[in-house]
Amino acid sequence: MAQPKEIFVKSERCLGCMSCMIACSVEHSPGKTLFSAIAEPVVPKSRVYVEWAPPAKKIPLVCRQCEDAPCMFACISGAISRNDDGTVVTDADKCIGCWTCVMVCPYGVIGRDIDAGKAYRCDRCPDRDIPACVHACPTGALLYETVPDYSKSMRQKASEELARAEGE
């Protein structure tokens, strides 16, 4: 089985511009443009969140699509399942709005659609090759890679640092 891609967060890169949030909202709006999205009667919602860790850190958080997803096991109505592509999805028809998934999610990245009475979360932008948030990030704080590729780049960076340290 091919390695699926994940959204990785390099928090030291995040400037807190919230471009990811804007792009996510736009992607999940009917018109899929910024100027139509801001005029929608129902305000489009972002599935990615930028939190502030005082005094200076800005941390983007998005659904990790956990392999052993607590939300999926906790859902009492069986609304949460895993797609073929590995994303965890909530079936809105089955969701009864009990918010159990919200309680068990360790990242706090499940939202409540107050109008529909349903839970919502990152769907990895099924219509796009690269999720909108990753595409919008101007600093490379969000990456969309496979675990082996991401780990490889981390090993590369660690190797360079090690080499530099040994050279001194």
Partner: protein, 626 residues
């Protein structure tokens, strides 16, 4: 009374804490709440690297060189974008101060023509001094004739195309020569602001240093031009301030009187509100409604203006404007221009308070607009005050919470008043500086900013300065922070070092001298110029330093720029939006020394900021051999 940790973390001022407690319990939103909702603030904005100057953009430069764009679509680098954004802030600030000055020139013109409603020329000595400075004859002429010429000369400074701004020639000649050498001697006030807007248009000036030089030029036209005109003509029309006792903080509101807050910046409106509040018919009407009388208090800089000329009490500085309304005891908050939060509109909906806007330049959602005009100044002021009196019956006593805190203060140290307090000459001050009793002079000014605990930046810095024998001159929101903390009382000399304490006690003055509103920083420049001229040196040689511990406005950027351009080292207590450009940062904090003999430092710890200022003062003393 015990307050939540959140409330205690927001301000050191007890009256502010009291009202923040009310806000928390009643669910009323303040600037502090909105600041928290704004976090995290956009890093591109914080770094100053976003550009919206053309419609190929918006562009922004990634601060990470390996990722993201390093140039805007036109090719502008971070250095160019940061420099352009910085000087556009200077243009905004210089425009605000200078338009204030223009309004005063307009009022003087109408008064000289006999067309203004209720204004008069109160200070003929100041009028004569300014006439002499402008080369206007006074022999055998009425004050109106002289004032007409002065008003026209002042007006002309704004639209002047060539030459120089007259008041800038108060600066020592080495300073003027230096401005000329680097091409930053302003030709006119409006021209330099317009040139900033031209240069920062797509595809014009793309040299960061050249851009910054134009920013300095426009700022000099503010400090030694627009702001100075505002100060000087205000003195002609309303009197040059002399030391007067007053009181400050929210406790100046009265639970049994019609409370009117004059908020904003210019004295043109607030002077008339003060006059109208003494109208016997209106006072009678207030009493008939069950009030003890009419209580006019100030807020922000227009409050400084009427406090230093009439001893009118002052309700608080910038971040206290919403809290004043939350007392539930304010019949009207009357505003003109600058630093008035649009949040007041929604807030006043929760209370009986009338939010009355008066300037065609400044309208607000939720405000009642009562257009003010200088021609009918007093008449309109009577209508505005009457609207407040009529609103007294709508006050809900159950909603009234007025903090007890108010502090006496001594205010109104104009340049003339300082010379007066010294016995008619600067010599005693010069002697005290030479002997070291007064180590140096600091100008501490500027706003409030929820990024720093309210008033703490101001007070910690000022206290550290006076403890080390640095005489502090203050204006604006710093002045009010000091007033509320008792630092504007002669008794505060006890908190000063031995040398400064002795000087203050001999003269009977506070160790922190209130010099007025934010345009009155021009008074501080005038004092510095006079001291430098008396010693035969440039301002940059003096043991002086400036600081804006809690600054936030564009006006503060312009002030910082003209203070540094005048040769005075300046410490900023909040980080300016320039760090995205290493070059601009280097120019402002280092290279500027090679051009104007002074530079900026950024230090968010107020005590460390004071230490930087003291170290600078000591270095200058050593260079002077004193």
């Amino acid at each position: 009374m015990s307050f939540s940790e959140k409330t205690l973390s927001r301000s050191v001022d007890p009256a502010t804490q009291r009202m923040l407690d009310v806000a928390e319990k009643e669910g009323l939103e303040t600037a502090w709440d909105r600041y928290e909702k704004m976090l995290p603030q956009c890093g591109f904005g914080e770094l100053g690297v976003c550009c919206r100057n053309c419609n190929m953009g918006p562009c922004r430069i990634s601060p990470f060189e390996d990722t993201g764009p390093q140039k805007g679509i036109c090719g502008a680098t971070a250095d160019i974008i940061v420099a352009r954004n910085l000087i556009r802030m200077i243009a905004g600030g210089a425009a605000a101060h200078s338009d204030h000055g223009r309004d005063l020139a307009h009022t003087l013109l109408l008064t000289a023509q006999g067309k203004s409603g209720g204004y008069e020329i109160k200070d003929e000595a100041k009028l004569a001094a300014l006439a002499k400075e402008y080369g206007i004859g006074t022999e055998g002429r009425t004050k109106e004739e002289i004032a007409l010429d002065l008003a026209e000369s002042a007006y002309a400074e704004f639209g002047k195309q060539e030459g120089f701004v007259q008041i800038s020639r108060r600066a020592p000649s080495p300073r003027v020569e230096l401005w000329k050498k680097f091409g930053i001697d302003p030709r006119g006030i409006d021209r330099e602001i317009v040139e900033i807007m031209h240069r920062t248009h797509i595809g014009v000036d793309n040299d960061a240093v050249n851009l910054i030089l134009q920013g300095l030029k426009a700022s000099i036209a503010d400090g030694w031009g627009g702001s100075a005109i505002a100060t000087e003509i205000s003195d002609v029309l309303f009197g040059t301030p002399v030391p007067v006792r007053s009181a400050s903080n929210l406790g100046v509101l009265k639970d049994d009187a019609v409370n009117i807050i004059a908020h904003g910046h210019e004295p043109v409106l607030s002077e008339m509100i003060v006059a109208a509040s003494c109208d016997p018919k209106l006072v009678g009407k207030a009493k008939a409604a069950g009030a003890s009388g009419i209580n006019v208090v100030g807020m922000c800089c227009t409050g400084n203006e009427i406090m230093m000329r009439h001893g009118i009490p002052h309700a608080g500085n910038f971040l206290q404007q919403e809290l004043a309304v939350m007392t539930g005891a304010v019949e009207a908050i009357i505003v003109d221009v600058q630093c008035i939060m649009p949040a007041l509109g929604d807030l006043c909906e929760c209370f009986h308070t009338k939010f009355i806007s008066t300037s065609s330049k400044a309208k607000f959602p939720g405000a009642v607009h009562m257009q003010f005009s200088e021609e009918q100044g007093y008449g309109i002021a009577l209508q505005i005050v009457e609207a407040a009196v009529d609103n007294y019956v709508n006050r809900n006593p159950e909603k009234v919470v007025i903090p007890e805190e108010k502090m006496d203060c001594m205010v109104g140290f104009s340049t003339e008043a300082i010379v007066g307090a010294l016995g008619g000459t600067l010599d005693p001050l010069l002697d005290a500086i030479k002997s070291g009793a007064v180590r140096g002079i600091a100008g501490v000014v500027g706003c409030n900013n929820p990024k720093i605990k309210h008033d703490e930046g101001h007070l910690e810095l000022v206290k550290a300065l006076i403890e080390n024998d640095v005489l502090v001159t203050t204006t604006g929101c710093n002045a009010i922070a000091c007033a509320k903390a008792g630092l504007l009382l002669p008794e505060a000399a006890e908190q000063a070092g031995d040398g400064l304490r002795g000087v203050c006690q001999t003269l009977g003055v506070p160790p922190v001298l209130h010099m007025g509103s934010c345009v009155d920083i021009s008074r501080i420049l005038t004092v510095c110029a006079a001291v430098a001229n008396a010693l035969g040196v440039d301002i940059s040689d003096l043991p002086v330093a400036g600081s804006a511990p809690e600054w936030m406005s564009e006006k503060a950027v312009s002030i910082g720029a003209y203070v540094v351009s005048s040769g005075i080292f300046t410490v900023l207590g909040t980080v300016p939006q320039v760090l995205g450009s290493p070059l601009v940062t280097e120019v402002l904090t280092k290279t500027a020394n090679d051009v104007v003999g002074a530079a900026f430092a950024v230090e968010t710890d107020p005590v460390k900021g004071a230490q930087l200022m003291i170290a600078h003062i000591d270095a200058k003393r050593q260079a002077l051999g004193i």
